[in-house]
């Protein structure tokens, strides 16, 4: 068979595909939202928060991998709430009119915002991990105990734990975006706060009412399972299911935000 008869293998123009992806309206909005967050100086707040997290919880006490992921999970979740609130408030004022006047769907703007708030979770986690790793060596080999290492930490369980932690943080940041003004109505925000109050009450109080309200904690079960991924070091079917539900939460909350946003009258100042 001559060379001319050989039909060229179908090639994917990866460079072009990446370029197109880079210029999608949602990705463009995410890039700009992140750039605005950095230039406005709010990123310093994130850096300081992560450094404080490290200084308070990891500087003197390395703990084991469960401690690392448990503490980092709670701290970075709090950071996810704070930075998503700031980013969304800065993105949803009168300045939104100009980008919205260019795109054919408000959904692109919401997706960009969700993407920006989610992507920012990655460097925050990596910074915390780098700070912890810079002081505490990971084990094995020999971990001499508390204060000198993060016991039980291996590349595998750090990777698996990171996936679970980041999935949870992105769910939280997406939840914040979805229930921010002007996307959600006041009634929806009150509903969310009522749910959070019920969850906290059922967790902290004994008695029949708390027992009944414990049903409100069911939606949090996948998040709890994802937090445990780092400690367990394996994903397993339950971990995979929890991750899948986390991803479903992110997609579902984004779609809900898009639906609400599409119906809202935007009168912003």
């Amino acid at each position: 068979m001559s060379a001319q008869e050989i039909s060229p293998a179908p090639t994917v123009d990866l460079r072009r595909a990446l370029r197109e992806f880079w210029h999608w309206p949602s990705v463009t909005i995410a890039r700009f939202t992140l750039a605005r967050y950095v230039r406005s100086g709010w990123i310093l707040g994130d850096l300081i928060f992560v450094w404080l997290l490290y200084a308070i919880f990891f500087f003197e006490f390395g703990g084991n991998v469960a401690y690392f992921f448990g503490t980092a999970g709670q701290g970075l979740s709090a950071l996810a709430i704070l930075s998503a609130v700031v980013m969304t408030q800065r993105a949803m004022n009168a300045r939104v009119y100009l980008p919205l006047a260019r795109i054919t769907s408000r959904a692109s703007y919401i997706r960009g915002l969700v993407l920006a708030t989610g992507v920012l979770r990655v460097p925050a986690f990596l910074l915390l991990l780098a700070l912890a790793a810079s002081y505490h060596h990971f084990s094995p080999p020999p971990c001499t105990g508390i204060g000198g290492c993060i016991a039980g930490a291996t590349p595998a369980n750090i990777t698996i734990g990171a996936i679970g932690l980041l999935a949870n943080c992105i769910v939280i940041s997406t939840l914040v975006v979805t229930f921010s003004a002007p996307i959600a109505t006041r009634l929806a925000r009150i509903g969310l706060l009522a749910w959070v109050a019920a969850v906290l009450y059922s967790s902290a109080s004994p008695g029949p009412i708390a027992a009944i309200l414990s049903i409100t904690r069911i939606p949090l079960m996948p998040l709890a399972a994802c937090y445990n991924l780092g400690a367990n070091g394996t994903i397993g079917w339950s971990g995979a299911l929890a991750l899948a539900i986390d991803i479903a939460y992110i997609i579902g909350l984004s779609l809900l935000a898009e639906y609400w946003m599409a119906k809202r009258d935007l009168i912003l100042h």
């Binding site: 309206p25 750039a35 300045r95 009119y97 100009l98 260019r102 795109i103 009258d265 935007l266 009168i267």
Partner: protein
Amino acid sequence: MTTPVIECVEVSKAYGKRITALKNLSLTVAEGTSFGLLGENGAGKSTLVRLIMGFIFPTAGRVRVLGEEHVARAHPRIGYVHERPIFETRFKGREYLHYLGQLSGLWGAANRQRAQEVLELVGLQEAADRTVGTYSKGMLQRLAIAQALLTDPALLILDEPTSGLDPRSQWEVRQIIAGLRRQGKSLLLCSHYLAEVEALCDAVAILRQGELLLSGTVADLLHAQDVVEIVLAQDYSASEVAARLQFGEQVMETQGNVLRIPGPAQQRILAALVEARIAITSLNPLSQTLEDAYVQITGNDGTVTKAGETGTEINGVSGKGELL
């Protein structure tokens, strides 16, 4: 017949149960028209602009822009200037244009080239690499116009583009708008400055308390509000002549031997004077500005004088919102 770029059919907009911003408004803007939107604060201009841009939705009625009922689908063909500068102050003017250009589907070299073109068009090329926070109000407004022109839009919506600017900056912005008008762009200009609308627009609509008071071409509107001054011979008293010939309400004002009458009544009154053999010294059409016409239409005391309600037919100007 030209295609309408904006069609509002019996549009109403209420905010909650108490505030009705627009009431049953119907308006059509033809392609290639420079259309002015006038009205006092709270008249409903900004609400109408937001409806046309799809930022808010009508409570009743239908809005169609560039043939699209789902207005956002027309966004790539619309250039929009917000009523006040709303830019990211920490970005350079050029960077911000690149961002908005990318959202409009312009990439790489094409995006950079188009940004440079519009910066040159509005005279901002030298300040393009400064952060927007250092711009003066006039520069911000020129940047606002530059971003609106990025995609060479079929329709430009300018919401109070000269508001708050110094006279020089106002003049500069008006020059840019006049240039766009000469290019045959369809413009919707929302403004408080009547002289500006008179100079830049072919047609106007006047809103009052959420209702369309009147719309029509600027020429017809001015003509409809024309006043003619008839100077009778010295020995005539204008008021006596008016009473004798029963001109009644057709006469706006009398002073000595001078009669002031509305333009449309000119032919009828002149015929009556000639028939009565009353000598006329001179006939002077008094030129009207849009401001004069606006005050007459809306009333000096704030009362509304509707063309249809007074029984006066005004050529080419309709009180029901149709652009004739």
